[in-house]
Amino acid sequence: MAWVDTVVQGLLLGGLYALFATGLSLIFGVMRIVNLAHGDFSILAAFLAVVTVESLGLHPFTALALIVPVMAALGYGLQRLVLNRVLGRGILPPVLVTFGLSIIIQNALLETFSADSRRLNPGGIETASVPLGHDLAVGWFPLITLAVAIAILAGLQLVIDRLPVGRAFRATSDDPETAELMGIDNRRLYALAMALSLAIVAVAGVFLGIRTTFTFASGPDRLLFAFEAVIIGGLGSLWGTLVGGAVLGVAQTVGAKLSPGWGVLTGHLVFLAVLLFRPQGLFARARRVA
């Protein structure tokens, strides 16, 4: 039974990873940029939540109502002012600029909040659990996380499939030059995509902060896990990202159960195995955005 519990924990963890992966995948699909500061932005959101909760006495979920718009605006501004300038100049500039941002954010967080680890307190929900029969109990919070992840994924898929802006994302991803001929302002569209990405990653960051402790240096691991989830699931498929997150989550929980130091490493090894034997991922599609 303990193993079933472990696998279930892993699947639920996958929901969180999928949330992290979605924003990364969206940006890459639309703009071909990998945002190396992706994880750090989620941690920034988590720290913002800490500040909001401590100064305004809000519940972390309520704080989201403030943090998500702030992070979205940050993403929009970042893209318009900084990242749009390095597009179309090869692979080096976006990698270097986002890497620089990652270092800046981490060190700024270190200076502002010191190296102490923090955690967000959602008032007991993180310990409550739901019995699923046969001495298997599942925490409410991981369930909520998975539900939110699925809801956001479904929402994003809807936007991409049905709404004009989603069509614009796909068209710009296919052919940015011709997309401009349709009247699409690429600069604004990219900024919108980045705003969306940071909004989603803000939710991920707050949920992470509730689930576990975090420090200024927690960002890079989030990026790696997000990246691994995307690759395992397959580029260009949002639902594949959910599966990729689940596979990664299960690998990590099973690995940790086998030997405490081996959780993350097992995840990495599974990722490498997928890379070796099925490099296109489990659900690769021709479509590039989602």
Binding site: V82, V86, R89, I91, L92, P93, V95, L96, H268, L275
Partner: protein
């Protein structure tokens, strides 16, 4: 194509370098140990930067996982010197070979990625190596190990020997990179950087060239990693495989200037300057460096040296062949982002 006659700047540069080298070699006679240690640190960062510059600036392989080879080189040194009884100074280049050996299968994996995903892939691999080392009892697990093989020497001899080794490595790296870039392979590399499909039609074996550079750079990086820990004597996984190695080298190369040999030199000097100035301000020096790097990338993509080189057409280590070209007009066909 006309060949370049040695310009005045180049002659002055070489003369200065020769004098400077002589001074540096004799430093142990009149300098103090802390100066030597700083110089060793300077040289190791410089070589790391030259290596990354070769990889990313010339070969177009933007890796943020080179710390894997710093760590592997450092640990190879400990194993070779302490466990296998190899002379520690000899173990330094051997550690480079170990790193190169690991780089070969690693390349097979990471070369499946391109662009930004290649960058993250190299980082993921570095993390794997870090975790593997941190979970290996023989290597000291999380707390690491101390290099004991050098304790048979007197402290003074050890420091001087390390210093001279560092000088030799620094010089060798500079000469090797310079000669390589001026060679047929170096030209092929720059062709690949400028246009991969184009260079393929001209017969450049893109894959093998890139693989060769990746493995060669791993050798240089591993060797430097071993040198670093020969100097520091104490190694741990978190320090040896830290992303900071990549952060420092990237900032050095970006600010100094990508794709030139002089750039990393300028960048390393600036790095030390900034670090000295802001040493009391904790993390601020990293924030400043990061902001500088981002700013330079946005405003002067060719870095500080690139600015100088373009403005005054100065090349101390010229690796280009000059072709007279008319100045280009506005570039159409590119929609503004």
């Amino acid at each position: 194509m006309t060949s370049v006659a040695p310009s005045a700047a180049r002659r002055v540069g070489l003369a200065t370098a020769a004098v400077g080298l002589a001074v540096l070699v004799c430093l142990p006679a009149w300098g103090d140990p802390s100066t030597m240690r700083i110089l060793v640190e300077f040289i190791t960062l410089l070589v790391l930067a030259q290596m990354w510059n070769l990889l990313a600036g010339y070969a177009g392989l933007v890796s943020i996982g080179q710390q894997a080879y710093v760590g592997l080189g450092g640990y190879a040194l400990i194993v070779l010197a302490d466990d296998l009884g190899v002379n520690p100074f000899l173990a330094v280049p051997l550690a480079g070979l170990v790193a190169a050996a690991v780089a070969l299968p690693t390349a097979m994996l990471v070369f499946r990625f391109r662009g930004g995903y290649f960058a993250v892939g190299t980082w993921a691999i570095a993390e794997v190596y870090r975790l593997l080392v941190a979970n290996t009892t023989g290597l000291g697990r999380g707390s690491g190990r101390t290099l004991k093989a050098v304790f048979s020497l007197s402290r003074e001899s050890r420091e001087v020997a390390t210093y001279w080794l560092a000088l030799a490595v620094g010089l060798a790296a500079l000469v090797a990179v310079y000669l390589f870039l001026r060679s047929r392979h170096g030209l092929g590399l720059m062709a690949i950087r400028d246009s991969e499909p184009g260079s393929e039609t001209l017969g450049v074996d893109v894959f093998r060239t890139k693989l060769g550079v990746y493995v060669g750079v791993a050798f240089g990086t591993g060797l430097t990693g071993a040198l670093i820990y020969l100097n520091l004597l104490r190694i741990s996984p978190d320090a040896a495989f830290s992303i900071n190695w990549t952060a420092y080298t990237i900032f050095i190369v970006v600010i100094g200037g990508i794709g030139s040999l002089e750039g990393p030199l300028v960048g390393t000097a600036l790095f030390f300057l900034v670090r000295e100035m802001l040493s009391d301000f904790g993390a601020w020096y990293m924030i400043l460096l990061g902001a500088l790097a981002v700013g330079v990338m946005l405003a002067f993509p060719r870095g500080l040296w690139g600015l100088v080189a373009e403005r005054w057409d100065v090349h101390v280590f010229p690796v280009q062949r000059r072709v007279p070209v008319e100045p280009a007009g506005p570039d159409p066909g590119r929609i503004r982002p």
